[in-house]
Amino acid sequence: MKSSNYFEFFSPVKINSGEQALSTLGYELEQLHVNNPLILTNQSIDELKILDILLSNIKNIEINERQIIKTIPNQANLENVKKASERYKELNCDGIIALGGEAIIDTAKGVNLIITEKIDDLKQLIGIETAHGDMQPFIVIPTTSGTGSEAALNAVISDRNSKNNLEFVSSKLMPDLAIMDPRMTFTLPPRLTASTGVDALVHAVEAYTGLQTNPLSDAYAFAALKLIGRNLEPLVNDANNKEYRIAMNNAGLMAGIAFSNSHAGIIHAIGDACEKISNVSHGDVLTVLLPHGMFYNLKFDYCRKSYQDILLALEGTEKFVDTNEKDRALMAVDAVVCILNELRLLTGIPVRLEEIGVKRSEFEQIIDKAMHNSALLNSAGQVQREDIKNILEAAF
């Protein structure tokens, strides 16, 4: 297989990360000329008083209740995007703030598309690079880390009528600003912290081994892996530790930038398929599939080379030097398995598909779905149905 000799890399998001990062919000709104933002969030974020922290940091602007939509569900859908867009127009808003996880961020991306492209039906823009207008100012304040949505150029929005997930991929979807403040993610319990951390780990690993791997995304993925290797387990042990939390927020963000530019691969393709067919959680299924996907990739030369770097990032120089060159790729998989085992001991994250509710009778449907996931085209080799079946069987 030939590695790529051409790449595109795009990451225009301004990032304010760290302690008290949210206090820059007033200044940033002014810089973006936003005087009347629409805030998208959900009820639990309000109950956890995270919304209050946000509002206390918006100075010189009056926010009324109607500018805050607290009813965004756990899966972005067309109806909510439409309702939020109507509210945006009705209140003459001039910017969007997404406070929450992936679903809220994806809903906000959908609103931005509808407003900017002046359309009624978001389905007109399904696909890759279908948006062309100048987008509305858009600020993302994530309350989970690991998804990388704050730096991702895609949005997945479900159509309840057709029961399909609509995928939008465009560099225009990236926010102008992402604010990563540890106060926003402190409330994550250890189990969810482990799960979102593994999500970031998968993003970094897949960004490193896809067909579109390139020096720039590699730099982000490598840095993310280093942070994950040093901070994920300590953070799960001490979920309120600010230092570890900031490090993992940054890791999730960098892994997001990496995989947004060099795509996900076979692990995500199968994981997404399991999510859709067996209705299992994204974090759990990726946790189970990660070592099996990596093991499958060991048969490709360039993946083995990339995995050597993964060993260096996760385990450090000493272990890297002490390991025979031909064993380094395998040891990288072993390092990942060790991380997962530690996390299982601490939080009970799953190791088998059966454990999370995937049924063997669903395999054919999962394979069909995974084969038609665009991430699979970016995976090493030309993945066949049989390859996916083998991974599913091994992970079952």
């Binding site: 051409y6 996931n373 665009s374």
Partner: protein
């Protein structure tokens, strides 16, 4: 040189469309991917956004070839390259469509799952009409031909394109 590339792009894309129609009844891989697409599904492919689109439609599990068209309304899936030179790399068998897709050289308007099906189909068609070296270099999977290259090309040349409104 640009004109030559333009000519090659146009000819090969037309050959791909015609071959798609012929192979839709013969190749099991194409049949399987076609079964994934809805009935009366219309696909448009161009070498660049503002170029003419080669249009095909799935009707009763077969493909009808409509030739090149300017109007691209009622299209379910549109695929074009960011630049004609990118298209040339793929159509002149210097790079696989999968690689071009991964490298962000391809723009897709429509459902990405269907786009993935189309890319699998294009790979199979390329395997039929391109050289054996290309198959070996770009397409790693096992490929079993159901019709000889020469026979396919001759059949494709004599294929009538469908007339009328799309």
């Amino acid at each position: 040189m640009k004109f030559l590339h333009h000519l090659i792009d146009k000819l090969i894309l037309s050959l791909i469309g015609r071959s798609f129609s012929i192979l839709s009844d013969q190749d099991p891989g194409i049949k399987r991917e076609l079964s994934y697409l809805p009935e009366e599904f219309i696909i448009a492919i161009a070498v660049e956004k503002n170029g003419r689109y080669m249009i095909v439609q799935k009707i009763e599990d077969s493909i009808k070839y409509y030739g090149y068209h300017n109007q691209t309304k009622n299209i379910d899936l549109k695929l074009y390259f960011k630049d004609e030179e990118f298209a040339y790399q793929v159509l002149a068998a210097k790079e696989g469509i999968r690689q071009a897709f991964s490298e962000h050289k391809v723009v897709v308007e429509g459902d990405l799952e269907y786009a993935v099906s189309l890319i699998y189909i294009l790979e199979i068609i390329e395997a039929y009409i391109m050289s054996d070296q290309f198959i070996e270099r770009v397409l790693e999977n096992k490929f079993t031909s159901k019709i000889s290259r020469l026979k396919l090309i001759v059949k494709a040349l004599f294929l009538f394109r469908e007339k009328g409104e799309i």
